[in-house]
């Protein structure tokens, strides 16, 4: 395996190019995540062998296939319990769950809720593209109201889930929102998440030009990117009340919860 790109050592380069469509935001997230991990590794906090990535099924979930860590690409919605099994047995592992909004928040919602409540020591990175990408554009719990999708051809009637509010209502150590329009923030938040015990959650607002873009009339990646960018606001200390995504108007990025309580693993094994 030739290493060319600076992140290639973390990639199964023999499997590139990946399956993601041109301009899909998922690759941006993974790239930022690898830089965050790389920084930890180069700072000596852990090694490449200590990292485990776990994902369910979906476009986002495919990420683990390309990563040169111990990885698991399991079933739709169940990455979190798999990850907990790993973490409890090998507490030294840095266990990272990567998944789409359907994977993590629809079918996997209950595991998100309860692992957050337990302050279980894993990091969950949810790529929110506001749609089911892999299956071709159905409504997601994160889809803005009124949007036409293949399963809501008369417009979505459901209020979108605010993951920041949900996860912050639980007992977690870290909750942040980033966006693919700002890769540095993704990197920083993932870095910060990996720097602590307990449960950490990062929502990354992403672009899916192929499917979501088509639904809202922005098939061109650059246009969709710029459209998203226009809604983004960054706040150093945002309040949870301002976390609702108002599509077309405002999406507030920032670290919403930032604490250092004991995680579940410490309670289980002692320190």
């Amino acid at each position: 395996m030739d290493i060319i790109h600076p992140l290639d050592r973390y990639l199964r380069t023999d499997r590139l190019p990946h399956i993601w469509c041109p301009g899909c935001g998922i690759g941006i997230v993974i790239s930022a995540m690898l830089r965050a991990i790389d920084r930890h590794i180069s700072e000596g906090h852990f090694t490449q062998d200590d990292v485990a990535t776990v994902s369910g099924i979906g476009c986002t979930a495919r990420a683990t296939l390309y990563l040169n860590f111990d990885s698991a690409h399991v079933i739709h919605g169940r990455a979190i319990p798999f990850a907990i099994g790993l973490k409890v047995i090998k507490p030294n592992l840095k266990v990272i769950v990567i998944g789409g909004d359907g994977d993590i928040a629809a079918i996997g919602g209950n595991h998100l809720l309860h692992s957050a409540r337990r302050n279980m020591d894993i990091t969950v990175i949810m790529v929110n593209n506001m749609v089911y990408g892999m299956t071709g554009g159905q409504v997601a719990p994160t889809t803005p109201m009124k949007v036409y999708t293949t399963t809501t051809p008369y417009g979505n009637l459901e209020y979108p889930l605010n993951l920041i509010k949900l996860v912050s209502s639980l007992n977690t150590n870290y909750v942040a929102r980033a966006s693919v329009t700002h890769p540095h923030l993704i990197e920083r938040y993932i870095y910060n998440a990996l720097s602590r015990d307990g449960f950490s959650f990062i929502e990354v607002i992403s672009i899916c030009p192929e499917v979501f873009g088509r639904h809202i009339g922005f098939r061109n990646p650059v246009e969709l990117f710029n459209k998203l960018k226009s809604m983004i606001k960054f706040k150093a200390k945002p309040s949870i009340d301002e976390s609702d995504i108002v599509w077309g108007k405002e999406i507030v990025l920032g670290e919403y919860v930032n604490e250092y309580k004991s995680g579940f693993i410490k309670l289980l094994y002692g320190s």
């Binding site: 060319i4 690759g27 990646p221």
Partner: protein, 65 residues
Amino acid sequence: MIVDRCKECGLCINVCPQKVLERGNEFNIYGYRYVSPKYIEKCVGCRLCEYICPDFAIYVEVDGL
């Protein structure tokens, strides 16, 4: 550039503050007209292109540091 990874999405061109990059005219083995750093001399090494590329196709080597 790792030309065969580029998918011609144009995001790097869009974010480059220096307008260094342009869509090329040649096709890679997957049929994409990959990006090329046409005005590389203008590059300030900000790495925005590297960070934004979803395909690990472009990266920046900063010489002489």
